[in-house]
Structures are given as structure tokens and as C-alpha cells.
């Protein structure tokens, strides 16, 4: 290899703007120092922002609740939509005369395994705040999620919800126990290392947020100059990357697709062999070790999804669960006096916000009745 290029006679030799620092430490050092400073500053800036975005366990773990928690509702986006913790708390207070404080940690595609590790994180980090906490887990049409540790612990596309909750030994156990494809293994390994940087791990959320903000500012700027005609063909929410409940006009279509896949048996196509070997059983143990109890609650669902719970497989599951539940002493509560119809599910999948207050109050009634009956 020969030496540096001869820049004599070029503009580089003429003006200070073109000159490289003579000291080689500065010349080369700037290529390490400047990127390092910029990346560190951004990473530091991103941390609180990404935590805020990642609602639920990470946020709760980073910023504990102000007062002790009596109950936590867990499940997927249906729980996130249907449970109004304030309504539940105030109704329960009316009934018992005691202050009650609950949290809704339902989230799109948060699996039983994700909830298991999330709850464990909260119980370990804030033992006083979560001591004796009751955990309500969704069981639509009486059936909670029947995933075992041999299944994928996260829903495809939502792996990022799981990885930050795992310890190193959990992660090793996950790779050993769960039956994962080689692509899935590679993805999880990638995420395991990526999580060390907020900037990398949450890049899709950051991108989405930044672009939405940028688009908003841009639309405002353009709007000041031009009249913008309204239309409906703009960007729609993407349930996967947005991590929230869809309310746009295509949501019902997505809901129907989901129902179809449910009906065709792609979800849980065989009966549960043993409920004691499900993740649910371990959640129960975890909750009871923390001094609390597990409560199953049925969720209102539209008629679109009802046939998915009326198959022979589901009937078998229901029967075996009833037998197991008796040995577990886990109550199943249903807000029987909550009346609803399909119009209460704008996307066929989630209970509308307007009805969540009512449902939560009725659920508090049902829970109160169960606790009273137990006494």
C-alpha cells in the first residue's frame, strides 16, 4: 500500500476548510469521539421516551405506582380495551367501603409467558407495592390461554414484548425448551443483543413516532399555505408496529381475518393435554407465592368470534379446565348482567371504550359476589 493521496494543487491545499488536522490523534480521534458522543447522547435521550412508549411492565418496573396495588388485569388487547381500572376500583369501593387500586396491564399480543415474566419482575422489584396482589386473567368464553413452555413464548411479530423481561438463564431455558424454528431462534438471539441499545431495539417505534411527528409538523406547515382536501386514503394504523388497538376503517376487515384463522383451527388446534403444565399454572403459583390469588374472568366477545370457542377441541378444554380449576381453587367470574351486542365491538374484536366503564363496574360486582360467597 502506498501513502496518503497527494493533495497539492487541489483546493484541499488552499483553504483551511479543506485541511485535515495535522495531529494524527485529532485526525483519527474525531472519527471515534464524535460518533461516540452523538450516539451516547441519543441513546440517553431515547431511554425515557422508549420506556414511555412501552406501556405496561417495563414502564411499571421503571416507574412504580404511587400506592400499593390490589389487583392487576392481564391479557391481550381485549383486556386493554375492556377494562377501565378506575371504574372497577370505584365500584368495588362502593361495595366494600375500602380503597381499591388496580392496574390494567392488558396489551396487544401479550402472551401468558410475557405476563408471567412481567409479573415476576414487578413482584421482585417492588415486593411491598405488589404484596398479596390479585391477578385477573382473561378467559374469553371461560377459556384462558393454554400455551405451554414448549410453545413459542411470544406471539410472532411481538417478540420484543418478551425479550426485555427475561434474565439470562430464562433466555437459555427458552432456547432449550421452546420448540422454535431456526429463523425464530436467530431472531430471538438478535433481539437479545439488540436490547442493550434502546436506539436499536426500539428503532421501529422510534421511526414510527418520528415520522408521525414529522408528518404532522409538515402537514401543519403545508396546511398554512394550502387548503388540504380531506380524504380517507392516508396512512392507516398498523396493528403490529403501532402496538395499539385499531380503530381505523380497515380494522373490521382485520378482525374478520383473525376470526377466520381462529375458526380454521390455526390457533390451538389440539386439546390441552394437562392444564397443570401450562404457563397459566405457573402464573397461579407465582401469584400465590406472592400472597395473592388468581382469578379468571370471562370477556365479552362479538358473535364473529363465538364459533371459535364452540368446537369439539374447545369443549374438551373447557371440561378439563373445570376439573383442574377445582383443584387450583381459582374462581371464574362473569359479569352476567352486562348486556352487549355486536355493535359494541367497532372492529369486531375489542369492546368499545364507551362500554368498558360499564363492563368494569359489572365485573367488580361479580368479583364482590364471588369473594362474599367464599366467606
Amino acid at each position: 500500500m502506498t501513502n496518503e493521496p497527494d493533495l497539492r494543487g487541489t483546493p484541499a491545499a488552499k483553504s483551511w476548510m479543506y485541511r485535515a488536522p495535522e495531529n494524527k490523534w485529532i485526525r483519527w480521534g474525531q472519527w471515534i469521539l464524535i460518533p461516540a458522543i452523538l450516539l451516547f447522547a441519543l441513546e440517553h435521550r431515547m431511554k425515557p421516551w422508549t420506556i414511555k412508549r412501552e406501556t405496561g411492565y417495563i414502564e411499571a418496573a421503571a416507574k412504580p405506582p404511587a400506592k400499593p396495588v390490589d389487583a392487576i388485569f392481564i391479557g391481550v388487547s381485549r383486556v386493554e380495551a375492556a377494562i377501565d381500572p378506575d371504574a372497577f376500583d370505584s365500584r368495588y369501593k362502593e361495595l366494600t367501603g375500602k380503597e381499591y387500586h388496580s392496574l390494567n396491564l392488558g396489551h396487544p399480543s401479550r402472551t401468558a409467558a410475557v405476563h408471567y415474566f412481567g409479573l415476576r419482575k414487578l413482584f421482585t422489584k417492588y415486593p411491598n407495592l405488589f404484596k398479596n396482589c390479585t391477578v385477573f386473567i382473561e378467559a374469553p368464553f371461560d377459556l384462558p390461554e393454554a400455551r405451554t413452555w414448549q410453545d413459542n413464548w411470544a406471539d410472532p411479530g411481538y417478540e420484543k414484548l418478551l425479550v426485555p423481561l427475561l434474565t439470562k438463564s430464562d433466555f437459555g431455558r427458552f432456547l432449550n425448551e421452546a420448540k422454535l424454528s431456526s429463523d425464530e431462534r436467530m431472531l430471538y438471539r438478535e433481539l437479545w443483543y439488540e436490547q442493550k441499545s434502546y436506539l436499536i431495539y426500539y428503532r421501529k417505534i422510534i421511526r414510527k413516532q418520528a415520522m408521525t411527528k414529522y408528518d404532522g409538523v409538515f402537514a401543519k406547515l403545508v396546511g398554512k399555505v394550502h387548503h388540504i382536501a380531506k380524504n380517507t386514503s392516508g396512512r392507516t394504523l398498523d396493528i403490529k408496529s403501532d402496538g395499539s388497538i385499531r380503530i381505523d376503517e380497515n380494522a373490521a376487515e382485520v378482525g374478520l381475518d383473525k376470526a377466520k384463522s381462529w375458526l380454521h383451527g390455526t390457533v390451538a388446534p389440539v386439546p390441552v393435554a394437562d392444564w397443570n403444565k401450562t404457563v397459566l399454572a405457573d402464573i397461579r403459583k407465582l401469584v400465590e407465592q406472592n400472597g395473592g390469588k388468581l382469578v379468571l374472568f370471562t370477556m365479552p366477545m362479538s358473535s364473529v368470534f363465538a364459533p371459535g370457542y364452540e368446537t369439539p377441541v374447545k369443549d374438551t378444554d373447557r371440561r378439563t379446565l373445570i376439573a383442574t380449576r377445582a383443584t387450583w381453587a381459582v374462581p371464574l367470574i362473569t359479569a352476567t348482567d352486562f348486556e352487549y351486542n355486536d355493535s359494541d365491538f367497532p372492529d369486531t374484536w375489542h369492546l368499545s371504550g364507551k362500554r368498558s366503564h360499564d363492563f368494569s363496574s359489572r365485573l367488580a360486582d361479580a368479583y364482590y359476589k364471588t369473594t362474599m360467597a367464599g366467606k
Binding site: 485541511r19 464524535i34 452523538l38 450516539l39 422510534i206 418520528a210 396546511g223 386514503s233
Partner: protein, 470 residues
């Protein structure tokens, strides 16, 4: 194997590691094997085709040099050209011509042609055919001595960075670099790394993010409205430039880190003031190939005004057809031929100089030329004639700035802005260290910001290189 695929990274690292640790002869063998693997990843059977055509050109090259009779020489050249163009014609244009002829016959109520070949187009066939043809033509013209080592000749044709999407290497430029030991300068490595980095930024950050903006309109059943159509054309103009020049930059950068100097293919084409200048800046290796091996042999501008115009249009039509076997490419080529002719008609003998004197004139000419080019891109991008007419109707009548258009505009401003800022600063230099403030800390800042943007805004769906289909 695509430059933007994950497998390409370890492939290149292994190739470079082996390359630096080997003596010259071994380097060539290793590069040849690597190039075969690179190409064979698409379909190994096309390697046989490639081996066949390169063997013919290699033998013809030797014979051409040894032959003394001009008649024999001419026959040999003709044979080489026929073989190369037949392969290209069969794989790329057979179905196109059969379909077109069939359509014509059906219009004239004379029946239909049944022949139709279902065959996959060999990747980069247009590039390596022109590549190989330049070798025999240059020997015929006594501009080049034939290469005696078949492996070296194979490497000249197959060299993987430029095999599938150019730049179309001239034998006279590349063969000496293949046949002689290469000295790698430090500056070459620095330039190579920069070109690879900037190439990926252009392709993966800018082109791939603007592709959905253009597709939103051109992939839709109907053109939404005039503003969206206009923005989609602008987006496509930037997309195709960044996609293709990004590929070329990566290819040239890879060449540089191995001590090869591949020819420049793009030189800020959108600042061209007139059509001839545009073609001196856009896909330079193709336009100069067409000029030297087609336009000039046809007579160039030496046989009177009419023949000059005919030659211009013919060359551009063939250039359009080179891009793909479809009528809209022919139309695009003809359009460029026509604007070259119109430019000559308006500016006469000044046409080749033709750069307006004042800065205002210059910039107005640039804007005009950019829009003329954009109109060409509309012809290039549309699916069919009905989409073209619909687009033209929208552009002239349905100008509505709606929410979708604002979203498209915001993407265009962001990614077009990144391109404009960097291009104005770096000025297409291979060595950004020669640009103002680069060494004063702005270089590391720019590279860090671009890398961050690359990471954050890397599109969820990767797009294949547009020019791979050619």
C-alpha cells in the same frame, strides 16, 4: 445474491479476507470462483450460458488479432455479434417480439402466433453482453490486444461487483487491471469505503423509502389525482437515480478496495442543463457505449442533418429497448431521442456546447431539463398506455392537495433533502476528504447521522435493485 441481502456481507468479507492474503494470480482465480458463486446463486445453469458466450468471444478475439484479411475480420466480428445478440435476443426479446407480432396479426385478422417461451431472464444479461461485445469490437478496431489467459478473460466478464448491473466496463479499461498485478493505495481503500457506504445510503435509505411513495400511485388501480401523480413522478425520479447510482457506487467501491477502478456511471445527472448534458451524466457507461459502438458506426453527425437526427433517435430507441422488452421502454427511448433532436434543432451547432451563460439561465435550464427527464420517467414507469393517458389527464385536470399528497410530499422532502444536501456537499467526489469541512469534524458528524438514519429509517420491505431486471 443481492448487494442489499444479508448473505452478501459475509460473502464480501470472506472474499476480501482471501483477496488480501493471496498473491496476484491466486487473487484472480479466487475472484473468478467468487464471481461464479455470486452469479450461480440466482441460477447456476446460466453460468453455462455465460461460459459458452465468453468462450466464443475469447476465441473470436484471438482469431481477430491473428487474421490479416479485412473480410475474415469482418466475418469474425459479425459472428461474435450475432452470437451475443442472439442470446440476448432469445432470452430477453423473443417473447416481446412474438407477442407484438401476434398482436399485429390479430389486429389485421390474420390469426395469432402460438410460440411463447417460458424462460427466466438471466440476471444482468444486457450488461455482460455489451461488456463482452466491447472486447471483440475493440480488437477488431485495433484498439486492444486480445487477452491470452482465458481465466483472466472470464474474470473480465464475470467480475462480480459489476456483473449484473454495471457499470458496463470497457475492455480497454478493465482488461489491463485484470491482467496485471494491482497496487492498492490507501486513498483507494478510503474512497472505496465511502462509496460503499454512500451507495447503501442511496439505495436502502433514500430509494427504498421513496419506492412506496411512487408505488402508491403507479401500483394503484387508478391514478388518485394530479398532485399525487406529480409527486409520484418526482419520487420515482429520485428513486431510480438512487437505486441505480447506489448500486454503481457499491460496485465501484468494492472495485476500489480490491484495487480496480471501474468507470464512473453517474455524475449528478439532475443538474444537467440540456439533453446531451443529461446523457453525459446519466448511465455514462451505457450512453458512451451506445455512442461509440452504435451512434458513430451509424454515421453519427457526419452524414448530414437528417441522418444525424435519424441516428440520434435510432440510438436512443435501441437504448430504450436495451432496458427492457416492453413498448414503454421503446417510447421512453424515442422520447429522449426526440428531445435530443429538438435540442439540436433549437440550438443548432451550439447544441453540443449549449450551456447558458448566466446563473439564472443555467438554473432555469436545469429545472426545465429536470422536468423533461421526469416526463421521461413517467413513460418509463407506467404499466401501460391507459395508465399513461390517465396520468396525463390527472396532471392536467385534477390538481388537489389532499392528506395523502401531503404525506407523500413529506417523504419526498425528507429523503430528497438528504440526497440534495449530500450531493451538493460531496459533489460526486470519490474522496469526500477533499470536500470543505469534511476533515474539520463535519465528516464524522455526517457519517454518524446518515448511519443513524439508515438504522432508524431502514424500510420494512426491501426492494430489489431496479436495474437487475435489465
Amino acid at each position: 445474491m443481492l448487494f442489499n441481502s444479508l448473505i452478501f456481507v459475509p460473502f464480501v468479507l470472506i472474499v476480501l479476507g482471501l483477496y488480501y492474503s493471496m498473491p496476484f494470480r491466486w487473487q484472480n482465480w479466487m475472484l473468478l470462483i467468487a464471481s461464479c458463486i455470486f452469479y450461480g446463486c440466482w441460477d447456476w445453469r446460466y453460468l453455462i450460458l455465460l461460459l459458452f458466450s465468453t468462450s466464443i468471444d475469447f476465441i473470436v478475439g484471438q482469431k481477430l488479432h491473428d487474421a490479416h484479411s479485412p473480410v475474415v475480420k469482418k466475418k469474425l466480428l459479425l459472428f461474435s455479434c450475432v452470437v451475443n445478440l442472439s442470446i440476448l435476443g432469445f432470452f430477453k426479446y423473443f417473447n416481446f417480439f412474438i407477442d407484438s407480432a401476434s398482436y399485429m396479426l390479430s389486429v389485421l385478422h390474420l390469426g395469432k402466433l402460438g410460440a411463447h417461451v417460458t424462460v427466466l431472464l438471466p440476471v444482468g444479461i444486457s450488461f455482460y453482453t455489451f461488456h463482452a461485445m466491447s472486447y471483440t469490437i475493440d480488437i477488431y478496431r485495433d484498439k486492444l490486444n486480445p487477452i491470452r489467459n482465458f481465466a483472466d478473460y472470464m474474470l473480465f466478464v464475470l467480475y462480480f461487483p459489476q456483473l449484473v448491473a454495471g457499470p458496463i466496463a470497457r475492455a480497454s479499461l478493465l482488461i489491463p487491471q485484470v491482467a496485471n498485478p494491482r497496487k492498492i493505495k490507501r486513498s483507494q481503500i478510503a474512497e472505496g469505503i465511502w462509496l460503499i457506504f454512500w451507495g447503501y445510503i442511496k439505495k436502502c435509505l433514500i430509494a427504498d423509502n421513496l419506492a412506496p411513495v411512487a408505488n402508491l400511485v403507479f401500483e394503484a388501480k387508478h391514478i388518485p389525482n394530479g398532485v399525487q401523480c406529480l409527486l409520484a413522478i418526482y419520487a420515482f425520479a429520485i428513486q431510480i437515480y438512487c437505486d441505480f447510482s447506489g448500486y454503481t457506487d457499491i460496485a465501484r467501491g468494492l472495485g476500489k478496495v480490491m484495487g480496480f477502478e471501474l468507470s464512473l456511471n453517474f455524475n449528478l445527472p439532475y443538474i444537467a442543463c440540456n439533453p446531451p448534458e443529461f446523457w453525459q451524466r446519466w448511465h455514462i457507461s451505457l450512453s458512451s457505449w451506445l455512442r461509440d459502438y452504435l451512434y458513430i458506426p451509424l454515421g453519427g453527425n457526419r452524414k448530414g442533418t437528417f441522418m444525424t437526427y435519424r441516428n440520434l433517435v435510432l440510438t436512443m430507441v435501441i437504448g430504450g429497448l436495451w432496458h427492457g422488452a416492453a413498448w414503454h421502454f421503446v417510447l421512453w427511448g424515442a422520447y429522449h431521442g426526440l428531445i435530443l433532436v429538438l435540442h439540436r434543432l433549437i440550438f443548432g451547432k451550439k447544441a453540443d456546447k449549449g450551456v447558458p451563460a448566466s446563473a439564472l439561465n443555467k438554473n432555469l435550464s436545469r429545472i426545465c431539463m429536470f422536468h423533461l427527464t421526469c416526463f421521461g420517467w413517467l413513460l418509463f414507469r407506467v404499466r401501460d398506455v391507459s395508465q399513461l393517458t390517465e396520468s396525463l389527464h390527472s396532471l392536467t385536470s385534477r390538481l388537489v392537495l389532499d392528506a395523502s399528497a401531503v404525506t407523500m410530499l413529506s417523504s419526498l422532502v425528507l429523503f430528497g433533502g438528504i440526497l440534495a444536501v449530500m450531493e451538493l456537499w460531496i459533489q460526486n467526489s470519490d474522496d469526500p476528504r477533499k470536500r470543505p469541512m469534511w476533515n474539520m469534524g463535519l465528516g464524522p458528524v455526517a457519517v454518524t447521522i446518515l448511519a443513524l438514519l439508515f438504522m432508524l429509517l431502514y424500510p420494512q420491505s426491501q426492494q430489489a435493485f431496479l436495474y437487475f431486471q435489465f
